[in-house]
Amino acid sequence: MADWEVIIGLEIHAELLTESKVFCGCNTEFGGEPNSQVCPVCMGLPGALPVLNRQAVELAIKAGLALNCTINGTSQFDRKHYFYPDLPKAYQISQNDRPLCSHGMVELSVGDRKRQIGIQRVHLEEEAGKSVHVGDSIISSEYSLLDYNRSGIALVEIVTEPDIRSAEEARLFLEKLKTLLEYTEVSDCKMEEGSLRCDANISLRPKGSSAYGVKTEIKNLNSFRAVQRALEFEADRQRRLLQAKEVVLPETRHWDEAKGMTFSMRSKAKAADYRYMPDPNLYPLQVDEAWIESIRQNLPELPDAKRDRFINDYDLPPYDADVLTTSRHLADYFEACVQEVDEPKLVSNWVMGEVLRWLKAHELEIESSPVAPKELGGLLKLIQEDVVSTIVAKDVLSEMFATGKSAVEIVDEKGWRQISDADSLEAIIDGVIAENPGPVADFQKGKTKAIGFLVGQVMKASKGQANPQKANEMLRQKLQK
């Protein structure tokens, strides 16, 4: 039986974080009343003309730089024609032959291996409007309703080379891409609001072969998980067909999340002809070196560089550095906290552990964390200064999230300060020794493990406030006398 190689290429559309649309001044804010963010230009009223948004170009260049692309000094806007009611002019202004950015590359870590995924192009184009289907689905609804608020929002289309070799790699690529676009503040990448969308092309070929097999295109991939699942399903489906000596049809398939299957939407026997032509209203886009250079200079530190710096400067384990740099906000949070408390591993443990766990439980993002880095720093300082124990600190953090109060306030209000002074501790320790003659005798006979039990008893008697290290030391001194 033949061994098959999976070939995947992705096409990603990301909405750019501009204030206004790509060719007009309409607001891009999400969720407005239907058809309240439209004008003659983005509604395609005849006679209105497109004027390109400088910031859209700048963000697309940023995306290109983050993806290691060549930024082309001259690029061209083309009209891509098709009739669909959400497309006001019946053509989309896009870039065909001469995209703004091309020949890029993204490096992925897949397990222990490094993989390089080529980026064929990053081009600028305009978003379409939104159609709401009255009824259960496109097919069964008798009418559709059109809202053009999204029409004309700036998009980048990012096309990879067919370099991806598994469904998992596809997901990892998308995660990396999302991180890069968020870092550079090119896009907010909210898949649920449609600001990041992905279509996937997949084909199989016998291992060792260099020719490509027949590919299918999968649409309706609404989450990273869906991308991986759909590609796993589709690879499997194609493999079975090929092994049964059947043919894979060149078609567009729709991912059904609930059923966990892809379905044929339409045959691509005759490739769509979009009748591309240069848009006579838009002169070629000229981008000079100086502009590209100034964008490059102002590019934030990208995740790979940041990760390496975290390992080198903060002496963090690679795992911690990976997790902390998945999001620029998380990395910023970490670094702001390290400013307060100069113990990076302690900060890393708390951010990756307690903070993320709590945020996840409340479905919050790090940038909207109720506990600011400075506040977390305040808590961690109390640990460093032995004011609270790690166990108590977890309770304090929980209170901080709930009340918004500072760590010091909570510790004082609750009387949770750790007992470290010898006099107070001595009284408690003496009591514990008196009440536990058995373990005391065990320890003195050489069963050193018994000390643990006794420290536990001290903690219990102090309601967790005793400094466990101090208690341990004092117990040993007393019992060895």
Partner: protein, 100 residues
């Protein structure tokens, strides 16, 4: 190039144009003769000639990213032939080749 009726009907579908019987009779020949005008161009040597897309050599203006007022909703909808709840309504969309 002699355009057949079938070829013209394909073009008409792509262009979303309903044609009358009368138009179907006369258009194929007329369209063919217009397309045939290209033959007169074949004698012009255009090797290494750049195509003219724009009549003058211009450079594109860029707009600053500033929000400008949109149309009032009622003005945006005013010309719509079928308006429901602030939306433009269309009959069932048959899924066709399209992408963004």
């Amino acid at each position: 190039m002699e355009l057949s009726l079938k070829e013209m009907e394909e073009l008409a579908l792509i262009a979303r144009l309903y044609l009358t019987e009368e138009e179907k009779k006369i258009l194929p020949q007329q369209i063919s003769s217009i397309l045939d005008m290209v033959h007169s161009l074949e004698t012009v040597d255009t090797e290494d000639v750049e195509p003219t897309i724009y009549p003058i050599t211009g450079s594109g203006v860029l707009r600053e990213d500033e929000i400008l007022p949109s149309l009032a909703v009622k003005d945006a909808l005013a010309n719509g032939p079928d308006i429901v709840d602030g939306y433009f309504r269309v009959p069932r969309i048959i899924e066709e080749e399209y992408e963004s």
